[in-house]
């Protein structure tokens, strides 16, 4: 214990005597750890938010697509409803279109399915029929285009030069906040038949969302649908989430790779700092060895110094990481795409801290080896 206390005093003074170098080393470690923790927290928050959106938006466990953008026949939808184990089938159209020069998402749904995509009506009331020249504008879109209930909007499909005019009957908050995707500026929700007519594809929808009855295995349902309609693309809701997560993981991996470079720079910085400390104190190491210090006593001093850098960098990194994650969340939320919650994932925080501590100690291996290899007789001979 006495040797540890002595080593701590050495390290404490060493850090105090070279404040700038010590501060820069700690900051280098902290920045690497902070980037790692920020990304982890942001990633976890984004995944949670994305999962919530997909679960809210998709009123079923199995999704059926055709080979094209909107080529699922309503006959198929009706047949699906008759399958054993199917509770409900929701047909929907989701394509990009235009209002003037503004890109928007055109969502075609049945009146009874509006409750699955609209969380709140700000003004007006929803359409009640399957057809009719009525539209519900998303709040974001309404603000952007200064739309009010009663206004008329001309909506163009993604292809061709035709357009149709609709009366805005309601302004609402649409749950599926993906305005930034495909540079779309917001949602315009139309009755299903109107959306089909706009696209020139009466009797066809983009997708059918199948809700299975309680106790029915969604995987079995997916396999059954694939068997009956071999030309269709059938996905589980979890697979949709999986695809979203896959994309997110790819982005996270790229960012984490960049973070790793930062961490490697921190490791090299720590190695350099401890190596220069050993070089600086070479004579003192020799004199301590002459005075009876064992190799482990010398190793303890420099490992302790690296550990102090690691612990300080780790703690600071955790704080910076949380702050960085909050900034990242604010930026992501400002895009209007996702509103990720700040989830202080304890394993990520602990991992970041342990990584800093471990890398700190690892960084000291080479300098400590050099320090313990010093032969007092050789250093002191140079007098």
């Amino acid at each position: 214990m006495s040797v540890l206390k002595l080593a701590l005093k050495f390290v404490e003074r060493d850090i105090l005597f070279k404040k700038l170098v010590a501060a820069l080393t700690i900051l280098a470690i902290a920045s690497g750890v902070a980037a790692f923790i920020s990304l982890r927290i942001l990633g976890i928050g984004s995944r949670t938010a994305a999962m919530q959106i997909v679960e809210q938006v998709l009123p079923g466990e199995v999704l059926v697509y055709g080979q094209g953008i909107y080529d699922v026949s309503e006959d198929v939808v009706r047949d699906l409803e008759k399958l054993p184990g199917v509770e409900k089938v929701t047909p929907a159209i989701l394509v990009t279109g235009y209002i003037g020069r503004n890109s928007v998402f055109v969502l075609g749904v049945r009146p009874e399915d509006l409750k699955n995509i609209v969380s709140r009506y700000v003004a007006g009331s929803p359409f009640t029929g399957l057809s009719g020249p009525y539209a519900i504008a998303d709040l974001g879109l309404a603000e952007k285009l200064s739309l009010k209930v009663g206004d008329k909007v001309a909506v163009k499909p993604p292809f061709g030069g035709s357009f149709r005019q609709y009366e805005v009957v309601a302004i609402a908050e649409v749950t599926m906040k993906i305005e930034e995707i495909a540079a779309a500026g917001g949602y315009i929700v139309l009755p299903l038949r109107e959306a089909q007519n706009l696209l020139g594809r009466p009797g066809y929808v983009s997708m059918a969302v199948v809700k299975v009855a309680e106790g029915v295995d969604p995987v079995a349902m997916k396999n059954l649908i694939s068997l009956i309609y071999p030309g269709s693309r059938v996905m589980l809701r979890e697979e949709v989430i999986g695809v979203v997560f896959k994309v997110m993981s790819l982005i996270e991996s790229l960012l984490l790779t960049t973070t790793m470079i930062g961490i490697m720079v921190a490791v090299f910085g720590t190695v350099s700092t401890i190596t220069s400390t050993v070089r600086e104190h070479q004579r003192e190491i020799a004199i301590m060895r002459a005075n009876g210090a064992l190799r482990r006593d010398v190793a303890l001093i420099f490992m302790l110094e690296a550990l102090v850098y690691g612990v300080a960098g780790g703690l600071l990194g955790v704080v910076f990481g949380i702050l960085g994650a909050q900034v990242g969340i604010n930026i992501v939320a400002s895009f209007g795409f996702l509103n990720p919650p700040l989830i202080l994932d304890v394993p990520s925080l602990v991992l970041g801290f342990l990584m800093a501590t471990g890398l700190g100690v690892l960084s000291s291996v080479y300098p400590v080896w050099r320090a313990t290899s010093i032969r007092p007789v050789e250093v002191l001979k140079s007098e």
Binding site: S2, L6, R289, A290, V377, K381
Partner: protein, 297 residues
């Protein structure tokens, strides 16, 4: 009859390079008895520092045996030698070589801590007393940079003496000091030798130092020769023997050696060191305690 604090038996040292062999020491036989202040003189390159390194367990002889305080250290490993150095050998160098990150007190405490025998409190008490002995009371918490050269060398002397070593080896202890500081440091060295009975070996090329020695040696051509003591030395010894405070210092030294004895006995009972080495150390320590008790009686 005094016991032997340091014995070198037919010590040879050969340095080999790719092209040649240089025999620096050609069979040194040297016995330093407890309580002696030996000065080894010689020109640059005569092998003085090599001899000191071998005597202190910092280097190994090519041939011959080295015995410190009754323990043969010739065939010990580096780590065993480090333990022996901590308990039995003190070093004082020309450039003071204090640890900049430690205060004066901590510099003196360090070798005590490295022995593994003392608690922090015990080490601090001994170090504090040693700093008082070398006249640095009130400077305990100063860093080396805040002390003059002479004061730093006195801290180095206190550090060498603190663990109650069998022998203190000094390499040109006044080489980096101005004349006044050198005189003060040498006076202190002699006084400590006389008052504490501390065995001291000094290697130097400065002939003035031989005036303080109880024995003087010359090293030349890899061999060592002894010179009989001169007149000036005898007079100096008389002056210093009658010095004030000598009895108090002996009592202080006795109390510190007793602390070391207890610590060694603790180490022996815990089995932290080789029993043979501990036994030899205990015997050497008991002899020194008994000698001091006789002087105080």
């Amino acid at each position: 009859m005094s016991e032997e604090a340091l014995v070198l038996k037919d010590v040879k040292k050969v340095y080999r390079t790719q092209t040649e062999e240089v025999q620096v020491l050609k069979g040194i036989n040297l016995t330093i008895r407890e309580g002696e202040l030996a000065v080894i003189m010689g020109p640059s390159g005569s092998g003085k520092s090599t001899l000191l390194s071998i005597a202190g367990g910092l280097d190994k002889p090519t041939e011959g045996r080295v015995v410190v305080g009754g323990v043969d250290i010739t065939d010990m490993s580096e780590e065993e030698l480090a333990k022996i150095r901590a308990r039995k050998i003190g070093f004082v160098f020309q450039s003071f070589n204090l640890v900049r990150n430690f205060t004066a007190l901590e510099n003196v405490m360090a070798p005590l801590i490295f022995t593994g025998l003392y608690t922090w409190k015990e080490a601090a008490e001994i170090a504090s007393k040693m700093l008082e002995v070398v006249g640095l009371k009130g400077h305990e918490h100063k860093f080396p940079g805040q002390l003059s050269g002479g004061q730093q060398q006195r801290v180095a002397i206190a550090r060498a003496l603190a663990p109650g070593p069998d022998v203190v080896l000094m390499d040109e202890p006044t080489g980096s000091l101005d004349v006044d500081s050198a005189v003060r440091v040498l006076g202190l060295v002699k006084w400590l030798n006389e008052a504490l009975g501390q065995t001291i070996v000094i290697v130097t090329h400065n002939p003035e130092l031989s005036e303080l020695a109880t024995r003087t040696f010359y090293i030349r051509g890899g061999l060592i020769y002894e010179q009989p003591p001169g007149q000036i030395l005898a007079e100096r010894i008389k002056e210093l023997k009658g010095g004030a405070g000598s009895r108090e210092l002996k009592s202080l030294q006795l109390s510190m050696l007793k602390v070391k004895l207890e610590a060694l006995e603790r180490a022996a009972s815990r089995g932290v060191a080789d029993p043979g080495v501990i036994e030899a150390e205990l015997k050497a320590l008991e002899r020194r305690i008994s000698r001091l008790e006789k002087l105080l009686a």
